[in-house]
Subunit: 695 residues, 2 copies
Amino acid sequence: MVWILIAPIAALAAVFFSVYLYFYVNSRSTGTPRMLEISEAIKEGARAFLRREYIALAIFVVIMAVILTIAIGIFLGKGIEIGPAYIFGSVCSALAGFLGMEVAIRANVRTAYAARKGLNKAFPIAFRGGAVMGLSVVGLALLGISVIYFSTGKPELVLGFSFGASAMALFAKAGGGIYTKTADVGADLVGKVEMSIPEDDPRNPAVIADNVGDNVGDVAGMGADLFDSYVASIVAVMILGEGLSLVTPRENLVSLPLIFAGLGVIASLIGVAIVRVGKKGNPGKALNWGTYFTCVVLIGLTFIVTYVLEFPLAIWGALTVGLVAGIIIGITTDYFTSIDRMPAKRTAESSQTGAAINIISGFSYGLISMFPPLLGIGIGSAVAFFICELGIGPGFGVYGVGMSAVGMLSIVGMIVAGDAYGPIVDNAKGIAEQAGMEEEVIDIADRLDAAGNTAKAITKGFAIGAAGLTVISLLAAYQAIVQREAGIIIFDLMNPFVFTGALIGIAMPALFSAMVMLGVGKNAFRMIKEIRRQFREIPGLKEGKEGVKPDYARCVDIAAKGALRELLPPSTIIIVATLAVGFVGQFIAESIGPPYEFGGIQALGGYLGGSIFSGLIFALLMANSGGLWDNAKKYIEAGELGGTGSDAHKAAVVGDTVGDPFKDTAGPSLNTMITVMSLVASEFAPLIVAFALLY
Amino acid sequence: MVWILIAPIAALAAVFFSVYLYFYVNSRSTGTPRMLEISEAIKEGARAFLRREYIALAIFVVIMAVILTIAIGIFLGKGIEIGPAYIFGSVCSALAGFLGMEVAIRANVRTAYAARKGLNKAFPIAFRGGAVMGLSVVGLALLGISVIYFSTGKPELVLGFSFGASAMALFAKAGGGIYTKTADVGADLVGKVEMSIPEDDPRNPAVIADNVGDNVGDVAGMGADLFDSYVASIVAVMILGEGLSLVTPRENLVSLPLIFAGLGVIASLIGVAIVRVGKKGNPGKALNWGTYFTCVVLIGLTFIVTYVLEFPLAIWGALTVGLVAGIIIGITTDYFTSIDRMPAKRTAESSQTGAAINIISGFSYGLISMFPPLLGIGIGSAVAFFICELGIGPGFGVYGVGMSAVGMLSIVGMIVAGDAYGPIVDNAKGIAEQAGMEEEVIDIADRLDAAGNTAKAITKGFAIGAAGLTVISLLAAYQAIVQREAGIIIFDLMNPFVFTGALIGIAMPALFSAMVMLGVGKNAFRMIKEIRRQFREIPGLKEGKEGVKPDYARCVDIAAKGALRELLPPSTIIIVATLAVGFVGQFIAESIGPPYEFGGIQALGGYLGGSIFSGLIFALLMANSGGLWDNAKKYIEAGELGGTGSDAHKAAVVGDTVGDPFKDTAGPSLNTMITVMSLVASEFAPLIVAFALLY
């Protein structure tokens, strides 16, 4: 059937368009020699991190591929293609991250230079730089899925591809998160506090590592994270569709998510193409308008295709529910973190009575802020479920939930474009300041930067909502896989295996985020020692003597090496714990016997459910309270309540520093962590079942 | 059958013994006139709070009783005794709290005075003061249950009694928590920070409110909390036992928890009687030894009774599992908060790099600390389940889980005795210091105080574990009630009603604790205004002129009134949300029809499950990180890392201040909150079912 070709064609178009945009960005001027110098140092540092990351990843991926090939491919006889599919997934994700980063470190300096000629000249460079990332993420992901599915016809191999992508996401998102905060904390504590030199001062050995961090965490990490969610949402629906069939199917339900994803890429391409801003325009509005427009185009395109292919309109309805829920979640989340809303203002006011009250206030609003998105995900998934369950037939409900996640994530091309725009303009602003450009240029860079924050509020809501719906459909996919192998298996909350699994599951996101945050502390300590050493041992560095330069590369290296080292224990724990719950649970279940003979499988279901609940809680809490503390500080810095330097400001800085690892390290890693756990469970589910049936 | 008389007889014995201990404490000397003066002021303040609390409670209880009588008693025809049973529950709990508080505010000053004659003279006064609370809690609770059950034979009316007790717990625990932190923050911010007068200075108008707070939150609140859990655990097992029958039952399974609870009271009486300490003895060890001894006695007594009455030994096994799990949870929890363990030391060390790092470190260890208790509750409940499910027969598993909670909670008499000892000696120390007693007396008071903290670590673990197991069995009781009314109803995690209910449920503890913490902030603000007013308007107060006294009563009044006012919105929300999930869910379910006709009931099951998960997470996180910050500060105050006044100390004080509302207000209220929600669900379940069957 010809329609499914939409997926690879749209994917190829996205890749080609992103290559075109790459050359567009690269053809702009890099500005003054000083600007080029700063930009080269950032480029070098970013590449150094990526190099380390890719080496570590390669080792990890090869080991996992061997395990998968032996355990799933040979032992279970599911075919040895699983190993290559896994590797292919991580390579595609790494490639998207590499391209995005390469363009980001080019776009930043070029945006800064173009800002001299006005907002409308600078904006396209930054936005198209972001679009390269967005389009290569969706392009490479969808192309990879198409290649595997067309050549083998097996959704399970797409699952392997997805699992490979999740490994990359773990390294890029959690590792990048540790990296960026290590550099940030180290640079600030020695530079600003001990040496009393300004932020971003070139004498500080960690300054480049700090600048690199923004690119590593926000560009490459976020890209890998959404690559991961995007692929996972598609594969979950493919697996759920495998067991279903329509009475008059014009097209297989397995390929429908691919068609919809292809339409999403087309909608994103249109969205990216139409985003532009005038000389006096508002770039924030332009970005949001682009997102809304993309949504409308997608809703239209999917409606036409659903109608033409004679699929039930209920499936289209579920997809639309996902998109609408995403926007509502985005808008409500925005309320809790925006600088001009009550929570941020109240938190800023509470800073007047000290740092502790600032922390309690921000934490409390963070707790409250969970309510709207949780309600949104809950109601959204239930509506999507019932539209399909009642509109099509029994069993289609979970397919509808999966499709609502696909709906949200199919416009990822546009979302990532807007998201990657943020760190590019942030970096551009930094370069403009460091290169001593004119006041009005910095002002334009500021306005571009502010737009990034506005856009981020909406896209962050999308990302959280999409991740929530994706993990729900991954849980459903896990259930579908085990049921296919072992018959009906229910995750009854009152079953002791499910309940105990859930209690262990809820502890995992807490454990993972704590280990990651403590890892930042340990790594920052190493960094601090190195910065102090350089100031002590390099003569003339502190005094800023002409020609004396710190050893930037060494700091980048320490941050990178340490980040990967601190990432290892928590990553190992979540993978091992997931397998342990399944296999140990199954071992106990078998000694108990019927009706508990599938206890391990059920425990793993409860464990995934528990980790979804707890993961959503902590992801929302950490992202929102972190953003809130940041904006409460900015509110004071804008001149309110005594302004910069006041006691309230000092208290707000404490809150902001607490919020940094919350929102940049631990919080954003949780999505990835839960996806990894769900994919481990789904990937190894047939093995656990085989183990169960062995007895 | 005569054995069940163990319950009322043991309960009466406990009440009589606590009256005897009350007179013992009261007969000791109150010391110098200055001591008496301080103690009288605390007494007056505590009574003022209780008066307000009881008036507010009375209004609340009467309204709820009318609703229950109409909705459950008349409309459903379950009998109008439900109203009086509800009122009786709250009155019994209030009476136990009143007695405990009355003796605590007498025991503190008498302990301080007796400390002049040595440790072995002071210890019994403090411990027996605590024991009055412990024994009146179990005595009045068990007596109340016995009266209702013997006179009506209906476990549902015991559920009403339990529901009444939970209303009292909500007011005493959450309201008391807001009260105590309001007074603390207000007194510190104006007194120490603005006026630069020492802590506990009699010129501070809020000093009495602050001293009262310890009694209100830690004595009366904790007593009401454990009264609530104790009754809830017993009634849950009674309800679960109602539907079960043994092949050769010598005794009804409904009355067995009463018999075991009676044995628990006897074990506690023995435990309380044997606790003593020599002149050079270690009071902390004496308290812990008393707890262990009580456990052993209970295990022995229950074994004998199980054997003699020919009950399956599996039930006794489940009870023992509960006790053992409680002790293991206590010991592991202790590790994460103790002053001489790695987490507290590391957190103290991290204070050297500032307040933010101290917060992140303490928060991270708090996150990790969840793991052992969650694993303990999970494994404990699963073992208790399977011992009974496999050892007796299908359906007995949840009965076993309930029995393990009863096992933990049946020694509540001893636990509360040790727990209430803490604030008594804490107050004694404060009085000794304020009254200017000799160094060696203060030293003895210090040692008594330290012992309180040691004992608290174990008992806190018990309380958390017991609450976890109790809410699990309450969820099972809810299921048993709806199944009795409407047939088999499963809480399948993949059912959209259950899942959406769970997503809403996990948001509730977060919402509740945030509102309570923000309530502290608002109320403290009112308090601060009043303290400033008094310093401004009362001539000679600041200078400490002879005969000039602040208006203590007014501060007590503001704290009390505000606490109850701030408690109203979160309490209303949790009750209304619980009913809304059930009824609105059921309304939607009925418009969908089979197989979702009981969707509302299932949504409520998921909601309770979700709130249990999230409630446990936040209760553990807040209690443990709060305790950890407190001890990290104390570690520095003991002279490490620069000692009091150093930068590290200032940073640690911020952590401690953040931890205060965590561990004293929000964290401990969560147990109560979840119990209230579970009881609301169980109490109104028949109404939701009736609503379901109406269609």
